[in-house]
């Protein structure tokens, strides 16, 4: 990959080698005139132009010198990823110490050049150089780069914001390695925003559908910050029973509750000096939200059962796949907490909106699962990649990962994954989509009421994708009863999987039944019994015929 080329037009950098070297070191660039090799951390190649000509003891600011440099070999300025132009140039008679005495037009020469270049090279990407601090330059209409306190990161961000770069060059400037296989302009822009805020202490809210890589982005922010040598602690709020959330986050004292046999530090303390990632923050109980808000405001946690608060210095990154604004309206999420955690908001697009990422991500997972299973040399045929790109991925990256993992499990060493293999995998992937959809829905906690349980079930049915060859859709209008039976059976089956113990594969039927119906009398009963119970309640008009017909129609529309 070639480094981007930057033209630096500054009189001092040509006249004064020490000044030039300072810029080179701070921006981490290579001086193309003087370099004798590439150094690994270089961000760009720099060519320096004074913008002046010298006749004896007289130095003159000369636009033609600049025009020639900008035109470059192509003649139209396209050689340069970016042009940096100083605001002021010192010209005139050279005095007794060799410095130009100055001319009235020196102060405005840079601005005048900028305007002329904009006319002569309409596509030129140009940033002004200034000695002012970057904070003072922030709100100006013309982009500026401050020489004061310039760091490689500031320079990289300048190039990313204003430069003409290839995808590989963008990835290099962002510091993205092979484990972050994103190539789409949209997602790269999200990472650029993340890099810009990485080093601040402000909380960040990452929004995006399930499986889009919110934790990957959170880790990137942490690794790009000055806290990268401190802990990164991730908590999935949705996975914690509501009665344990506070203990998990804030810790507890010994004896604080029945099972609290010893004191335990919470996640906030574990993440002290580092970063705490609160995934699915939308699932946090409202009472806990108030306590988290206090921690963010005061920098202190109070363990459950404790009397004294403990100081914490934590950078919080929160993530959600839910619509917090809607939740606020429904009273399920605090507005003040939303404001607090969304000092900076990043939105990751779904995989369907960044299809350029599908192939590289698929290859990344291929390598991962090939390595894990000890199968070398498995590759994708080009047609297989094309087939992968055509899938909608309601489950986003998570779904793609499942598909690739499944494919690897069915292939041998040095085999080629064909388009047919992919199509087979995708045909079964509505189960994966269902899994993703299931995770996406806000499931009520274990002790939900019957109404909540059934409402959840209906909501899941509405979002459940239907394969095109589903028998429910063929042979005329099916008998409603039978169709509902089959439909609910499938949904119950998918829902029940949620309660499968990941360690031993056993199904916790009791929890599943309780969850589905909120009815303890059904505990220990199988899905069939549950379905019958639901049908009975339907007969008792607790689910109406219209509800079910509406659901069936929606299924057909979605096919």
């Amino acid at each position: 990959m070639n480094l981007p080329s930057v033209l630096v037009i500054d009189d001092q950098y040509v006249l004064d080698q020490a000044e030039r070297q300072t810029f080179i070191d701070h921006a981490s660039v290579i001086d193309t005139e003087q370099c004798d090799g590439i150094h690994d951390s270089a961000l760009a190649e720099a060519v320096f132009c004074s913008g002046q000509r010298r006749d004896g003891d007289v130095i003159t600011n000369d636009y033609e010198v600049i025009h020639t440099a900008v035109a470059g070999e192509t003649g139209n300025g396209s050689d340069w990823a970016l042009v940096l132009l100083d605001v002021r140039f010192d010209s005139g008679q050279v005095d007794e110490v060799g410095l130009p005495k100055g001319q009235p037009e020196d102060d405005h020469f840079g601005e005048g050049v900028r305007k002329r270049l904009a006319l002569d090279f309409p596509d030129l990407l140009l940033v002004m150089l200034s000695g002012k601090k970057q904070q003072e330059l922030r709100d100006l209409d013309t982009p500026y780069l401050s020489k004061t306190g310039l760091t490689p990161r500031e320079f990289a961000l300048c190039l990313l914001c204003y430069g003409r770069l290839s995808v590989d060059q963008r990835r290099a400037l962002l510091g993205l390695h092979d484990n972050i296989a994103t190539y789409s302009p949209h997602t790269l822009e999200v990472f650029r925003e993340a890099l810009a805020i990485a080093d601040s202490a402000m909380p960040v809210l990452i929004m995006g559908e399930t499986g889009t890589g919110k934790e990957v982005l959170a880790r990137y922010i942490h690794e790009s910050s000055s806290r990268n040598d401190k802990p990164f602690v991730a908590v999935n709020v949705a996975a914690i029973p509501s009665e344990l959330v506070e203990s998990e986050l804030f810790g507890h004292e010994k004896g604080a509750f029945t099972d609290a046999k010893q004191e335990r530090p919470g996640r906030f303390l574990q993440a002290s000096d580092g970063t705490l990632f609160l995934d699915e923050i939308g699932d946090m109980p409202v009472a806990t939200q108030a306590k988290v808000l206090r921690v963010l405001q005061n920098g202190e946690v109070l363990p459950v059962g404790g009397k004294n608060t403990l100081s914490v210095d934590v950078r919080v990154i929160a993530a959600t796949s839910r619509d917090l604004a809607a939740m606020q309206k429904a009273g399920a999420f605090r507005e003040d907490l939303t404001r607090r955690i969304s000092s900076a908001t990043l939105i990751i697009p779904p995989l369907s909106e960044r299809t350029e990422d599908i192939a590289p991500i698929a290859r990344m997972f291929l390598e991962k699962y090939s390595r894990q299973s000890g199968k070398e040399g498995i590759t994708f045929a080009e047609e297989a990649i094309a087939a992968l790109k055509n899938h909608p991925y309601q489950g986003n990256v998570g779904e793609l990962e499942n598909i690739v993992q499944w494919l690897v499990s069915r292939k041998g060493t040095h085999s080629v994954i064909s388009a047919r293999d992919v199509k087979e995998a995708l045909a079964g992937s509505f189960v994966s989509s269902a899994a993703a959809t299931r995770e996406k829905n806000d499931t009520p906690p274990f002790n939900s009421s019957e109404a909540e349980g059934l409402a959840w079930l209906i909501e899941m049915i509405e979002s459940f994708p239907v394969a095109k060859d589903d028998p429910l859709l063929h042979g005329g209008k099916p008998k409603i009863e039978k169709a509902i039976h089959v439909l609910l059976q499938r949904m119950a089956g998918a829902a029940l999987e949620r309660f499968r113990d990941a360690r031993n594969g056993n199904l916790n039927r009791q929890a599943a039944m309780q969850f589905l119906t909120g009815d303890e009398t059904l505990k220990g009963k199988g899905p069939g019994r549950v379905i019958n119970e639901i049908m009975k309640r339907k007969a008792e008009h607790r689910i109406t015929e219209e509800d079910l017909l509406r659901l069936m129609e929606k299924w057909k529309e979605n096919s």
Binding site: E19, D90, V97, K101, E105, D106, D107, G131, T148
Partner: protein
């Protein structure tokens, strides 16, 4: 400070050069690590030994000349229509303009402020240059870094004054 058309004058050329080329680029923009590196490699011996004192002198000159240098009285001699006036009238006009400018602009106060800051900078610099000229050792580098930090603090204060200076002939 009323300078609607940024009418240039020699003191403004000097102001711009000192602020941008010297104070911003060569002092405030230089981190301690930069300066330590320049000290080690001796790349800046000429800058510290020759250019900085030269710039300080230029700044003193600016401070001395700025009251008259930014005065609108100078325009009386430059503007064509006024050149036909008798010398006495032009002289009176200059006096009036200059008085009005002194009264309304606060330029004398700025000049004093600049002068004070320069004295502070010069003092700090004279201490810094003794630290600069010693043997390049690790132990001496520590003193150099401290010296540069202190010089930069004073330089930032001096720069703040430069930021308040007019950018052309001041109209009353």
């Amino acid at each position: 400070m009323f300078t609607p058309w940024n009418i240039s004058c020699p003191v403004n050329i000097l102001r711009g050069q000192l602020k941008h080329t010297w104070l911003e680029n060569q002092v405030c923009n230089k981190s301690t690590d930069d300066v330590a590196n320049l000290w080690r490699t001796r790349s800046w011996d000429n800058v510290i030994g020759e250019f900085f004192p030269y710039r300080i002198n230029q700044s003193m000159q600016l401070s001395n000349d700025m009251v008259s240098g930014f005065s609108p009285a100078q325009l009386v001699d430059q503007l064509g229509p006024l050149q036909n006036l008798p010398d006495e009238s032009r002289s009176r006009l200059k006096e009036v303009l200059h008085s009005a400018y002194l009264e309304s602009s606060g330029i004398s106060t700025l000049s004093e402020l600049l002068s004070q800051e320069l004295e502070g900078f010069e003092q700090e610099f004279s201490e810094f240059i003794t630290v600069w000229n010693v043997e390049r050792t690790d132990e001496n580098e520590s003193a150099l870094r401290d010296g540069w930090n202190q010089l930069q603090q004073v330089a930032n204060s001096l720069l703040a004054v430069f930021e308040t200076l007019p950018k052309g002939v001041v109209l009353p």
